[in-house]
Subunit: 427 residues, 4 copies
């Protein structure tokens, strides 16, 4: 299923006058402050976030799952769904595959289908936190960290195979998220588990093609509830440094202990040249995997503040960042949820681009704390929605993607085509 460009234009036509009025106002406001609005619009238009292949269906919790009609059941249908989102937003130009949930058996066909929708393949993701039916050894007690070398071997080989799948699709990076850890004191010898993990990661790193990057994700708990082998950015960074220059830390916003200052972590990783990528979501308690910007939009803005500054002052040579949404869509239409996330990302990015960095630096140098706060909040309180909408409009996408999606009754069409009760692979 694809959206005809004409439908988007018809939708935009109905909202164009109001939009232009708003955009003109904010443009004039910002121009008065010598801000190049067109450049910002262009930056936003260019910004692309990957959608993972597991995010198109309804998610669940350990207490159950409530299905959503019209879910995609094949990789092809998942690509179609990302295509819908991309057509409406022009922000979702990449897919991130999860192996073995979405094995591309015919890589050329898959690649073509994606390309036809303007999509490329971003980082591929391995999975050693579940057992597959054809698997020789279980990951119940770990994978890359396992006490048994044969299990580690199997997990390493799986990662290498994931890289091969990715190569065939044009991916250039591998994301490793390890569920490895323990739920009880004494279960692990921490130091041995650390060293096993280190050598397994190094082996994977060494097996990657020379133009590939390795992203090492961290998480303090869940699904293990006493310790994780990569609990924090410090461990991830140490592993990355040990692997080599193309290994980087990946930050998932939900993977932190309560009250962690994530934006500072982002800044320090950029200082070290080791920030590799981002998994966007939002949360109140733990790894809640909620819609981006739905709980802590100011934190998101502060993170983008660091990212904008970091990309403009990239002295430590961080790679271009891999952006991905990693949320679970338990209650909303997954496509609406993803579009709300993409919108929230652009809003935060736009706000961060408005920060008066010269004034901020001056206030910081003068320890004028009240002014520092004010300068950030001036940007944050600005209503940037018209700028974001303009960035979509210029790219041929919808001024208001969710409203367009609803007005086109796309979910109904998906249900008609696919039925009410299907479940995406991996969910």
């Amino acid at each position: 299923m694809k959206i005809a460009q004409q439908n988007i234009q018809e939708f935009n036509q109905k909202h164009i006058i109001k939009h232009k009025n708003r955009f003109d106002f904010i443009s004039s406001e910002l121009s008065d402050r010598s801000i190049d609005v067109d450049a910002i619009v262009q930056t936003l238009s260019d910004f692309q976030v990957a959608v993972p292949s597991w995010a198109l269906g309804a998610g669940g919790t350990r207490f159950g799952r409530f299905s959503f009609g019209g879910e995609p059941s094949t990789l092809e249908e998942k690509i179609d769904d990302v295509g819908l989102i991309h057509a409406l937003t022009h922000t979702a130009g990449a897919i991130s595959l999860h192996i073995p949930w979405d094995i591309p058996s015919d890589a050329a066909a898959i690649r073509e289908r994606a390309a036809d929708r303007g999509l490329v393949f971003d980082a591929v993701n391995s999975n050693t936190f579940q057992d597959q039916s054809d698997q020789e050894y279980s990951y119940k007690y770990g994978s890359l960290c396992h006490v048994d070398a044969k299990v580690r071997r199997q997990a390493i080989d799986h990662n290498i195979q994931v890289v091969e799948y990715g190569e065939a699709l044009g991916s250039k990076s591998l994301t490793v998220w390890l569920a490895d850890g323990t739920s009880f004191p004494g279960q692990h010898n921490f130091r041995k588990a650390h060293q096993h993990t280190q050598s397994s990661l190094k082996e994977i790193y060494n097996a990657m093609p020379d133009d590939w990057k390795l992203y090492i994700e961290y998480k303090p708990y869940e699904p293990n509830f006493y310790s994780m082998v990569i609990p924090d950015w410090g461990t991830s960074l140490a592993f990355a440094q040990e692997c080599g220059p193309r290994a980087h830390t990946l930050v998932d916003l939900g993977h932190h202990l309560p009250n962690t200052n994530i934006e500072q972590i982002v800044a320090i990783l950029m200082t070290k040249g080791r920030l590799g990528g981002f998994h966007f979501n939002d949360s109140k308690y733990g790894d809640d995997d909620l819609t981006v910007g739905s709980i802590k939009p100011y934190q998101l803005f502060l993170i983008f503040n660091e990212l904008v500054y970091g990309m403009e002052n990239n002295v430590a040579d961080n790679p271009p960042l891999a952006w991905m949404i990693d949320a679970s869509h338990n209650l909303k239409d997954p496509l609406e949820d993803l579009m709300q996330s993409l919108d929230a990302i652009l809003v935060a990015y736009a706000q961060a681009l408005l920060i008066d960095r010269v004034a901020l630096e001056q206030a910081q140098e003068a320890s004028n704390v009240a002014a520092c706060q004010d300068i950030l909040q001036q940007a944050y309180r600005t209503d940037v929605r018209a700028i974001v909408a303009e960035s979509r409009l210029r790219a041929g996408a919808a001024i208001d993607p969710v409203a367009a999606y609803r007005s086109m009754r796309l979910r109904d069409q998906l249900i008609d085509t696919r039925g009410l009760h299907v479940t995406a692979t991996g969910l």
Copy 2:
């Protein structure tokens, strides 16, 4: 499958000399302090904790589940498993049923099977957090709190039906745990959701037989990640007070925000005469559902300190407490895990029984803070394992239940009988 009493005695025979030596030492130590050791042993022998019907198989997380061989697949087999535990520990003399996972189609037969193993039926548990295939309305957006009266009706009726199942088995109480809540700001009108929940609970309460009690559980988050309709003890207490005198708050150790002082909550609920029951488990991060006593044994002791004091000074007329283990057995043999939990409960209970309450009261009245701490730690640091073992020995159970279970190779027998790959209902 049942354990022959003789096997237990043979096991005990091998350990009796060492045990007696230890028990004599601690008895003499405590007698010197005018502590009635026999009374403590008897109290521990009498103490019974319910095992829920869903706890006999391997649990999982939203990321997956690793099965364990020989899991029970029917209610009958679950009763057998609790029977094994009870034979070995003499502490697990009750089962807590979860409806609809374990519907007793032939109540008389089920009751007899349980009685044959020395088991009675404790509180029954309703489930409105999952949809069943034959269900008219979905609980995706709530049950007792739902905006739609028809959904609330269905959920109320389900609870009433659960009471009926319970009646047939001799249960005398209903535990309501509500997953109802929201994952996004704005999703609920908090006040309406509160009032719907209140009136639904009241209707269930009023439909219960006169000798039944209602236990209202609270939980701050999961599976909803922004709000829960019963997030804390304050809300549960308000609901219970509104329902009537036989409604009580149920405390699950894992259902609290970080750093909550649970023992104080226990004390205040007992002051109000509204503490109804306990779900035992342990956790480091959230509702981790780990083995009791595996992470915070001192907190468990402090809770038992309040319980012992509360039961001895029950001026507000709290009902006899409903004790249950509510853990998830993801990594260990569920039966071993449950026996470790039962043991940890008895250890904490025994330690709390050793507290010198006269000295403690004097130190408290004198604000002698160092002495207050010392008095608690004197009890906590005492090695009470021989007392706990003696309480089992006198009841005909095993001195060391896990060791006995292993020496009898009971898991192997279960696997032989049931196979390696079965899954318990509800898991």
Copy 3:
């Protein structure tokens, strides 16, 4: 020191054109959505927040305190400082006294000085968390909860005396914040401490004049680090209900465990008719006492969402709420800090007034979760600063209070008058 009205007008004159342009734009936007902008402006103009007498000087932490020049050293000077803020903002029309830090020896003169600056006296605050030099018994081990009736008597009498001071100034309410608690397990008999606190509060309540209200604050920890006698809203509510109809719970934003859903607490307290007042501040870790809106502005908006709805649907007859800022000004000029807080409060209030409540109710009734979120965010993302500025302008205050304060060089004048190194009483 007072600000000449003319100075404010001169300041406004310089910014009026830009402001009017912005206000016209947002007015037209909102009028299109049938929102009565004038009514909102009036509501904001009428909104008054009390400034506590201890907030005018530099605060500190247990690690030290860095003074700020020109701090007020007498109650008179503190009134002057609140007068400055009120002249610039017209939002700070009340003072909240802390006894014994600010004893009004000549009540009539103090009252007149305040009236001259347009200020009234809000809730008075007692202090039983420190010992005064002339005090017979120490509060080291508690006050209203103390094991010794003589200490409780002294603390009750102090509270009654504070009411008398308040009466003389025209206050109509007493706020009790208790530091009482313990730092070590065993230190308290929780139940006795609870009951002592209850009866002490009741005695204070009964001693108040008939038109007075009692606000009972809660806090989970600090300065005691194991338990507090009023740790949460549930305990505060129970105490208030026991005292009588004019006893209410007071919510301080910083007094919660990590991740607490404060807005839900606000809603439930209003359902019960027991929300009495608010202490505004912001925090990332604990009771950090930072500038309002500096860390979690979206949470502040969500709280105002409940407050607006609650005030418009006050079926349970909550009293008019007592609003106060309770922050600590360690790094910024306290007056600038307070004006930033007042501004953030008005911004959040204005945003909450923009919520389309009809649409929200419809979306809630339809369980349209994505729409619920959208409706809130539509309001939140609106740039309401021109509306807030207009509300000040119409009231004769400054369009931008902090900028006006800086342009008038008021801090320099305060330093000239009072010197660089003074310390406010109580700091």
Copy 4:
């Protein structure tokens, strides 16, 4: 004031029979398990923990301080107090000085006074979190991280001077705890602050004598409440690695976000050869600075588990660890509090020494999770108090130091000598 050795012996004489009975029982128990009890006793006797010079008086919070009678007001008196503790425990054989609170003007005399009490000087501590009256630049906005090079210079020079004071006393290490950070978003350029801190630390490191070590402490918040320049072990480790081989991370138990797995951090730092020292205390909420072992004794045991293993398998060449108590004595007699802490440390250490490491390794290699837990709990549940008492007895200290202290009425003597109302420097 000093304790006559004879007084201690008289005290011990009264308790020796009971003690010997207990020790014989536990010795025989452990010998049965082939544990060398004498070796454990010797290890405990040899273990020495430093007492910081600021810990001898009553501490406080930002809400106030309640003094304790007989507090030391000079460095000499502080040394005397540590001497008392050491005489009673023989575990407190070192003092850790805090400059400028305790400047040793006559180093030789101070050294002699300490030596006379069996004390040496451990790590010295600098202070750049408070301003001293004679100081040119303020640390209000930071010290080693400050935007202004002149402030950084002053702070670096202070640290170098502290090293000089330490040299004169025989210290061989400097502990740097930085309060530097921010309370508001935008206040710092995180990356610049990081780099300033790095270069300042390096300069201090380079100025130290060749046989000195630098300990870099981390803390996530307080006294700054948005960010700290060294918030976590990852940052501390990065700084230490950048400085050189004699720079190490120092772990303070209270300096972690909620739920942090501290024992894993200890293990990873030892893997890296970068664990330098420990600040012991306990806490429930934040940096509560409570008596060691009073809140989470099992966590303390798990940490000692890692330390024992780490010291026995020191492949990465960690230095001998610097042990110090860092607590605040707000409610208890500081000397009793310190002795309770020392006792809790020895108890945890003794328990950790009992762990059956061969069995644990086997259980870990077999992923026998239940057994891993059991092996740890076997050690933890053992009543080791008689072993700890024996270790004191053999060293000439008191079997029960707190009881001995009370029976000798030492606090009364201190009050007689020093008066009721003195305050220690720095408090």
